[in-house]
């Protein structure tokens, strides 16, 4: 049942159609930007930019490489943001992606600090400075209705594919076999990026080489601290607080009984 997207960096041609489709479907306004001296634009993800194409240009073995990657929420299957969200605004949808209910968010910003991919962005508010979080929702208002996410729907070279996660894994293996040998321009080191540290992701990438850092992706993303916090400290604290309350109540009755008896003596 789990849905996923497979984004093939070797296919992406950097047209930014997904960026536009994302804005259009999610009703996100355009950003005022400046020329940054490279093709990246806008400069970074923001509360109104949930998807953004990054450009990578580098030389390798005497050959110039130029790749593009649409950057957005990775929809980790074991998502640290969901673990640390105190309101339940971020949650795992039954279809496998990380859904978001903005009305529940209180702007605490834990998700921005615990996301291994630095994806969620906080809106600005008066008083507290930082407001509600925002990020790619996997088109949570399209996918459960049986529709394809806006970015995948619009992608001209079909670099963004949407479907059942299992099927996409198979497609990825077939694609990798083709890229390793058989493609007109082979990528012998092409890999599938689906990091296990966060339980795998619903947003999977085919990278031209086994060097995630080159594409601004962490090599071993993990939610380790989020897990220590939520799986150890959280229950431990609840036990400690509960035990103290019960201990104090018990002590009250024991004391009252003993000290009364002492008075009787």
């Amino acid at each position: 049942m789990a849905k996923a997207m497979l984004i093939d960096v070797t296919k992406c041609m950097g047209c930014r159609g997904c960026q536009v489709a994302c804005k259009e479907w999610n009703d996100l306004p355009a950003e005022t930007t400046a020329c940054l001296g490279c093709y990246d634009n806008p400069e970074n993800l923001s509360p109104i930019t949930w998807n953004r194409v990054e450009f990578y240009e580098y030389e390798q073995n005497g050959q110039v490489n130029w790749f593009f990657r649409p950057v957005r929420c990775m929809h980790c299957l074991d998502a640290p943001c969901v673990r640390v969200c105190p309101t339940g605004a971020l949650y795992k949808h039954e279809l496998g992606f990380t859904a978001y209910d903005e009305s529940l968010c209180n702007g605490c910003g834990y998700c921005t600090q615990f996301c291994p991919f630095d994806v969620p962005r906080l809106k600005e508010t008066t008083f507290l400075g930082k407001g509600k979080s925002s990020k790619c929702t996997f088109c949570q208002d399209r996918v459960p209705a049986g529709q394809v996410p806006a970015c995948a729907k619009t992608c001209p070279p079909e670099a963004i594919q949407f479907g059942e996660r299992e099927e996409l894994m198979e497609k990825a293996q077939a694609r990798l076999a083709y890229l390793h040998n058989g493609a007109p321009r082979p990528f012998p080191e092409a890999v599938l990026y689906n990091p296990s540290g966060v339980g795998g992701t619903a947003m999977m990438y085919i990278l031209p080489e086994n060097n995630p850092g080159r594409f601004n992706l962490p090599k071993d993303p993990s939610g380790a601290v989020a897990n220590v916090w939520q799986k150890i400290i959280q229950p431990l604290g609840e036990v400690a607080l509960g035990a103290t309350v019960l201990g104090v109540i018990a002590a009250f009755f024991v004391t009252r009984r003993n000290i009364r008896m002492e008075e009787v003596e």
Partner: protein, 239 residues
């Protein structure tokens, strides 16, 4: 002061009140309470899954705002007190230092507090060991909560995510220690039958001489005399 109960001919209690806390100490203590409690409640709303619905949306916004406003007061209080009564502050810090009588207190705390046996209790200063432990935890967690809280408030984006994550963890651990200590402190202050005088002195600044002699002998008699009386009482109990 002699108190004569209605309908009886004999004097029942003779109370001599002696000063224990200054007005500023008491004001500081109660303002600390008045900021600690809302901080703990608003913090626990984010912490306890059962209270999740209170943390959501606009309610959560409001709770975060209250948490921060009270946090500022909570953080400034001890500093303000240090400015207003610096000599008293340093004196109190000295009185909070642990000594070997504190070990004896810990050994006897169980039978003392639960069974009401106070004969074996070593003499205590103006603050007993429990109050010292409370003070130590409150000071340590004041520093920990303040530092980590400031990072969590102003450090988003400025410090690395990994550092921020550990700050959140330490904030939680400090909160657990502080709230557990607070609960025990609250119990002893308002509900423990033997400790009524503590609440009286924190409200009115005075304590009865009889209570001070029994519970804070080193403060009431001075360390030498208190030790002497303690040894005599022990001998008497043994024979």
């Amino acid at each position: 002061m002699t108190v004569r109960l209605k309908g009886t001919e004999r004097d029942v209690v003779t109370i001599r009140w002696i000063p224990k806390y200054t007005a500023m100490e008491r004001l500081g203590h109660w303002l600390h309470t008045a900021t600690f409690v809302p901080l703990a409640i608003t913090g626990l709303i984010l912490y306890v899954p059962l209270l999740q619905s209170l943390a959501q949306g606009q309610a959560g916004y409001f709770i975060r705002l209250v948490h921060r406003i009270t946090a500022v007061l909570f953080g400034l209080l001890p500093i303000l007190y240090l400015i207003i009564e610096p000599r008293r502050f340093i004196m109190s810090i000295r009185e909070f230092l642990f000594d070997k009588d504190d070990i004896g207190w810990v050994m006897n705390a169980f039978s003392y507090y639960l069974l009401g046996r106070h004969t074996a209790m070593p003499p205590q200063g103006r603050f007993n060991t429990g109050e010292k432990m409370n003070g130590l935890i409150m000071c340590a967690t004041w520093v920990a909560l303040g530092v980590t809280g400031l990072v969590m408030w102003f450090g988003k984006g400025a410090v690395s995510a990994g550092f921020f994550q550990w700050m959140v963890l330490i904030h939680d651990l400090a909160m657990i220690a502080a709230v557990c200590m607070f609960l025990v402190h609250l119990f002893l202050a308002v509900a423990h039958p033997l400790m009524w005088a503590g609440l009286v002195s924190m409200r009115f600044g005075v304590t009865s001489a009889a209570y001070a002699a029994e519970h804070h002998a080193k403060w009431y008699y001075g360390p030498k005399r208190a030790r002497q009386l303690y040894e005599e009482a022990k001998k008497k109990a043994a024979s």
